[in-house]
Amino acid sequence: MARLVAILATTHHPFYYKTSQLPPDQAPPFAAEWVRKVAAYRQTLTRARPDVLVMVGSDHFHQLWLDNMPQFLVGKAPFYDANYYNEEREFGLPRLLLKGHEELSAYILRGGIDKGFDLAFSNELRVDHSITCPIFTVRPQNDLPIVPVYTNIFAPPLPRPERFVKLGQAIRELIDAWPSDLRVAVIGTGHLSLELGGPRQFGPHGPDPEFDARAVEWIASGDIGGCLASVTLDSLHAPGNATHGFMDFMLMMGVAGFARADYADNLDLFHTMEAYFTWYPNGAGA
């Protein structure tokens, strides 16, 4: 069977790439610590020596649109072009070409559908910064094939948080049962409290530091019960109008089997808190 060697759940901050490229005399004061924390986080993936990456993210109205909006979608293609004109424009993100892993895509699609998730699929998917930000941070050499899994955290009506958790559990069961000798890592990105296009955006911290502190504790301790007792579709509006991206973290808690994280770190930044979690479901030396 395949070996699930690492699970990474993190925020995706599109400004990291550009910030990390600045010479020290032009970099903002928080840049050095940010780069240091990301480098440490990258090691948590590197040490697991993965062969293939299952990557959970969410399209930001790039390819997926309101005339045909899937709730959960799995890419199945030999390649994925990445990043869009408006991400180059706003964030300075370069375009990328990622390799796909069609066999694992097909397996997750078949198995996911059979487990009761009517997954949409795409044979020609251009992924955006929800997928490429973790490539820039934890696998900048971009040398591994991926399976992109997109969730709708953006265009209501959204699936409920419990559904994200269950999909994460299903992905975990599928990977654990995949008849392959490959080493698999799952990397998912979401948000803590976040406001976009509203009165609380771009403040000195995330819009709701208290929510962020609770969220970090839920994720780090694997406390899905506490999390689900506090988080609903409606309640996620309160910490910030884009906080539904937290449901991708909840999906990743499902992948991790509600275990305590083996690695947890965060960084309080302007606009939003960065957070980095890694689990080694088969032990760090597996």
């Binding site: 930001h60 109205f61 790039h62 649109w65 309101l66 005339d67 045909n68 869009y84 004109y85 408006n86 424009r89 706003e90 953006f154 265009a155 209501p156 009506p157 976009l196 296009g197 509203g198 009165p199 609380r200 955006q201 771009f202 509006h237 309160a238 109008n241 884009a242 302007f270």
Partner: protein, 120 residues
Amino acid sequence: MSRYLVNKFLFTIDRDPDLVERYRTDPAGTVAWWEAVQANQLLNCIAGEASTWLEFTDDERAALSAHDHVALFEMGAHPFLTLTLWIAMFERDHSEPLAMQLDYAARLAHVTQPYPDIAT
């Protein structure tokens, strides 16, 4: 209410560099052209398969024509779409980092929770 169509306008302008500049410099003209020529274009189909029923309300047309992001927010336009396009059009007019984004937020300071519904 045609919240979907407002979002479609923001989405299709934002993804086209020429239209971003056109909307920045001639908002009313761009909105009028877009509603007449583009609004009913089904995005994944040939032109002959266009829709036949989409149009703005007067308030929506006025808000888009006036670059009024506060009115768009209050109507339930998707805040991410509005913000992204506004950054593309107006960040260049501010000299300090994030000044545009903070000004954008300040103009929404009167908004209280729950925010307007954005469901389409």
